[in-house]
Symmetry: C2
Subunit: 295 residues, 2 copies
């Protein structure tokens, strides 16, 4: 890495001869193909988790590297503008690849200006508030990219599957979530929500891989196996979320995620497209630059 | 990036033929050469901000890339162990390169598990508490790398230079800081504190560069020029901090920082050495792995 500002560095280091045009068209179609149109009823069984939309792994890896560099430059401008922010919500079943997506797609970002929030079992303090309280506190500030590793959607997923609160309570939350996200969007937060879609067989494969590799034992938890028993209930709960909560201001994307390399590519592509569509601008100085004298 | 766990990926991608031995010896001497020995009285005028310890820029850039990859792998193990954490404190005068160090040294890290806290003018809520209250809240959790962009040292730097609180108050803070940091260290937080040392001429150069480049005008603030008038007072305040608060449990490093590429290399080298010295271990599963059956 050089010592110039990030955006400049990366612009200089993307080869001019890179065959970009065809790729960008393809990424745009990801954006369109993978988005859940507001109001559409989603059936996950109709969406193939092995889908790769014609991409080969080699092409995808190369494109991902280019997208990571673009993302870094765009993050720099988001920070330099400091008027808006981006919120990325990741949901998936256990082993669905939330951690891996963050590691592979977002590791090139500047950690200053990128805030990851993991939502686990709520603390007693959090439970003493409404379900959106802890979520609101974790939202990205102006100029930041926020990443939610799980989110408020847990309150209509695990909570619904296990009846942790009565139906009369959780059934009102879909509308509450839509209203909450609209408030965020109207206050300058762009929201992208990714559901990482894997098959039940792929989950078994991944759990097995963790068991067989001693260096991954730390990731093996009882909850993964317990929740696997409720696969069908989770599928239904996810379908309701995707059908009720994909809105114009906060769309859901269903990412075919059996192939990790395609998952990474699709998420990176959608994030970059979104940041590009924001038309980010360097903000001006609060001083009259022409009058500055350095002593 | 591949889809395997981060540590594995990077280990595979560091060329085996890389001439490591000589370099590592050099990095160890950075660690030793740049640390302020506890109890030593520091005079910044005796430390050359242009120093590069025999490194050429080309060698340094290559080594930095290697160190960034190592750091990524070590961060993964720190997270997998989840018993201890690392806190990196950055202090410098304006334009000293705090942001640039984070961007250039830490951008390869996984943002999940890396938390940057910037300490600006305290809010009214923060001022209603003792000066370490907001700092304690921002400390890294187990398994995390925390980065302080400015820190509690502001309370004996800008606060001392401008007498924001009476001397009777700030003069007690050096001891309080040492005690506070000792508590953190005894509870599993490794602490590295970097003072980025630039010359007054270099600061003028950097301010000029910002003024001349419209894409950097957003970084130009009145405070930079105002505080520059107090250069000598800040030098003295920094010397007191470095002399009184470099301890065995939380040492200060004075990083020659006029050359950004050397600054990046030195910080990366010290961070990697520190993480390596922790002998990080993958933690075990809470389950009896041999009894697991996947249905």
């Amino acid at each position: 890495m050089g010592d110039k500002a990030g955006a400049v560095f990366y612009q200089q280091n993307v080869p001019a001869s890179y065959p970009v045009a065809g790729r960008i068209e393809r990424m745009k179609s990801f954006h369109e193909d993978l988005m859940v149109k507001p109001g559409k009823k989603v059936r996950l069984s109709e969406l193939d988790p092995n889908e790769t939309h014609g991409w080969s792994r080699a092409d995808a890896d190369e494109e991902l590297e280019r997208l990571r560099q673009k993302m870094y430059g765009l993050q720099y401008k988001l920070h330099a503008e400091s008027k808006r922010s981006l919120l990325i919500v990741l949901q998936a079943t256990d082993t669905g690849g939330k951690d891996g997506t963050i590691r592979n797609v977002m590791s090139g970002l500047n950690p200053q200006g990128c805030r990851v929030a993991s939502f686990k079992v709520p603390s007693s303090e959090e439970l003493a508030h409404d379900f959106l309280w802890r979520v609101h506190r974790a939202c990205p500030a102006k100029g930041e990219i926020g990443i939610f590793n799980r989110s408020h959607y847990g309150d209509v997923l695990v909570v619904r599957v296990h009846n942790i609160v009565p139906k009369a309570v959780w059934s009102k939350r879909y509308e509450q979530i839509n209203s909450f996200e609209k408030i965020l969007a109207e206050n300058g937060i762009r929201i992208l929500k990714f559901f990482l879609h894997i098959s039940k067989e792929e989950q078994a494969e991944r759990l097995r891989a963790r068991i067989e590799d001693p260096e991954r034992h730390w990731k093996v938890s009882e909850a993964d196996f317990r929740e696997r028993q409720f696969w069908d209930d989770y599928t239904e709960a996810h379908e309701v979320v995707l059908s009720k909560c994909s809105t114009e201001w906060a769309p859901w994307y269903v990412i075919p995620a059996n192939r990790k390399w395609f998952r990474n590519l699709a998420v990176a592509g959608i994030v970059v497209e979104e940041l590009e569509s924001m038309d980010l601008q360097f903000s001006k100085s609060t001083m009259d630059i022409s009058k500055i004298v350095i002593e």
